[in-house]
């Protein structure tokens, strides 16, 4: 706990949150939103296709979208770490923060199972299984939970 307090009360936090420059907090916050749009936008397309939206698109053709999933995730993991450091002590005791992190981990894991079972094998098995469809729907719902809990964290700040 002392460690998280030292992060939150560090000189870095003071500079990052106190600076008048738009290049500190506002830019990192905006990057976090850009990353979200890329990560969740690409995941949405893949999962919708698994659920038979735009069903004429061959599943294999969606492979390049995973590049966007990972780019968006990398942007948000790094911007998220910076944002976490500046609020570390508040966040480690914030249940909404854990809801957000758990839903992201679960949404990504489900997405990876869908990739392995439906997308990577689509040359042999062109239609997604009922299990893949369930996981795709669950992944979409979890992304929504992650977004809503992320937004609510701003309101439940101490």
């Amino acid at each position: 706990m002392a460690f998280f307090h030292s992060l939150q009360n560090s000189a870095f936090t003071d500079w990052f949150l106190g600076s008048d420059s738009i290049w500190t907090y506002p830019t990192v916050l905006t990057l976090h939103t850009v990353g979200m749009a890329i990560l969740v936008g690409a995941s949405l397309v893949i999962n919708l296709r698994i659920l038979q939206v735009a069903g004429a698109i061959p599943l294999q053709r969606l492979q390049p979208l995973y590049r966007f999933v990972w780019i968006g995730f990398a942007v948000n993991l790094s911007s998220g770490l910076v944002l976490f450091v500046t609020e570390a002590a508040d966040r480690v005791v914030d249940p909404v923060f854990y809801v957000k992190i758990c839903s992201i981990v679960a949404a990504l894991s489900f997405g990876m199972v869908v990739k392995r079972n439906a997308i990577d094998r689509s040359d042999r098995q062109p239609a997604a299984s009922a299990r893949s469809r369930f996981l795709a729907a669950a992944s979409l719902a979890l992304w929504a939970v992650a977004i809503v809990s992320g937004r609510l964290m701003a309101y439940l700040k101490n």
Partner: protein, 162 residues
């Protein structure tokens, strides 16, 4: 504009909506979800027009458009609610008007695609390279939607706002 904002703020509907403390965070959450639907639904078509995902027929990609449009509608409704609740924050902000300008650009660009380029695009051999006009339309669409996102997210920090 400040007078108009003051009038909106004085209306019973503005006061009633702003009085519901849960409405603002709910609208923000929906605004973010709508944003992902818009970028996801429209983004794949934009990338395809820019020449990526070669081999994927454009008419198959267009089947995702209703999701992009639904995202836009969600954001227009929640955006109108923000505007009704806190008109000063937006109407007197140059950043907000820039956001509106980028929405107009994105809309005009989409209209240009639908009226001028959609038929040749749908008829194209999926393996052929897209025309430079299509590449430009796809790139402008992506650029303007991300500019809309940037203006919206940076609104409280850029300029004075209110």
């Amino acid at each position: 504009m400040a007078e108009f904002a003051a009038w909106v703020e004085s209306t019973a509907i503005s006061k009633a909506l702003f009085g519901m403390s849960w409405l603002w965070p709910l609208c923000e959450s929906l605004h973010f979800i709508g944003l992902c639907m818009l970028i996801g639904g429209a983004g794949l078509l934009d990338l395809r027009l820019m020449g990526m995902f070669r081999g994927l027929p454009i008419r198959h990609v267009k089947a995702l458009m209703p999701w992009g449009i639904a995202g836009f509608i969600i954001n227009a409704i929640t955006g109108a609610l923000f505007l009704t609740m806190q008109p000063h924050l937006y109407l007197t902000s140059g950043v907000w008007w820039s956001k509106v300008a980028f929405i107009v650009i994105a809309g005009a660009n989409a209209l240009f695609f639908e009226t001028r380029l959609a038929l040749p695009a749908l008829a194209m051999d999926p393996n052929a390279d897209t025309s430079s006009g299509m590449k430009l339309v796809g790139a402008l669409s992506l650029f303007s939607w991300f500019a809309v996102l940037y203006c919206g997210r940076m609104l409280p920090y850029l300029g004075t706002g209110n």
